[in-house]
């Protein structure tokens, strides 16, 4: 069985969604399975309507946000979303939505982007993380 990388995605800003998608890509490239658990702001970034148009950046680096976005655009860096999508095409990447966040904010599975595979409780995710080689919280 392939080794696994688990990522808990709590943040919903573009600067933090990039490392999520790039690390997932790297793990897939190196033959690992990836499980991503979206919770709170992380889940908030995966709505069907806004997943591709999100421009939020971390408050603590707000002063650099426009510069970084401009450089990324100039250098034609693929979006974090497209990067994650490619990782999914290439390997075994499963994206789970936190059931507690869904219930709390009355979010329907249908309003989430198709890249999200299923809804999962924290207990099941911890079991997944327990069997992972690497677990990250972003």
């Amino acid at each position: 069985m392939a080794e696994r990388l688990s990522i808990i995605v709590f943040s919903g800003t573009v600067d933090k969604l990039y490392p999520v998608s790039i690390l997932a890509s790297g793990a897939v490239a190196m033959g690992m399975d990836v499980d991503i658990f979206l919770t709170f702001w992380g889940l908030n970034a995966f709505f069907k309507d806004t997943v591709r148009t999100n421009t939020r950046m971390s408050k603590d680096f707000e002063d650099m946000a426009s510069l970084v976005m401009q450089v990324m655009k100039e250098k034609k860096v693929p979006s974090w979303y497209d990067t994650l999508k490619r990782a999914k095409e290439l390997g075994n990447v499963k994206i789970h939505a936190c059931s507690m966040t869904l219930d709390l904010l009355d979010i329907k599975k249908e309003s989430l982007d198709e890249i999200v595979d299923d809804i999962m409780g924290v207990g099941e995710f911890i079991e997944t993380a327990r069997n992972s080689k690497i677990t990250l919280f972003i």
Binding site: I22, S25, G26, A29, M30, G31, K75, K76, V77, P78, R86, A87, L90
Partner: protein
């Protein structure tokens, strides 16, 4: 590294960023037949380490890394 081998497929991944060139190579290797030689052009610094690491882990063969002006050509043979 002597004379450069002739490649069956050439992927131009210049101006893409880590892990772009590696991902492009993996995709090409999947599509290729065993024995085919694939060249990747990459201007990303990480590729020169990432790609050889992946190649040995995946059981393929690194033919060579050829430095050019502002990029490198990394040549790999699909072994299985």
């Amino acid at each position: 590294m002597g004379e450069e081998p002739k490649v069956d497929r050439l992927i131009d991944a210049r101006n893409t960023f880590c892990p772009g060139p590696l991902m492009e190579l993996i995709r090409a290797i999947r599509e290729a037949k065993v024995g085919e030689i694939i060249g990747v052009l990459s201007s990303d610094t990480g590729s020169k380490r990432d790609i050889p690491l992946w190649v040995s882990k995946a059981g393929h063969k690194l033919i060579g890394i050829y430095e050019k002006a502002g990029y490198a050509e990394i040549v790999v043979q699909k072994m299985k």
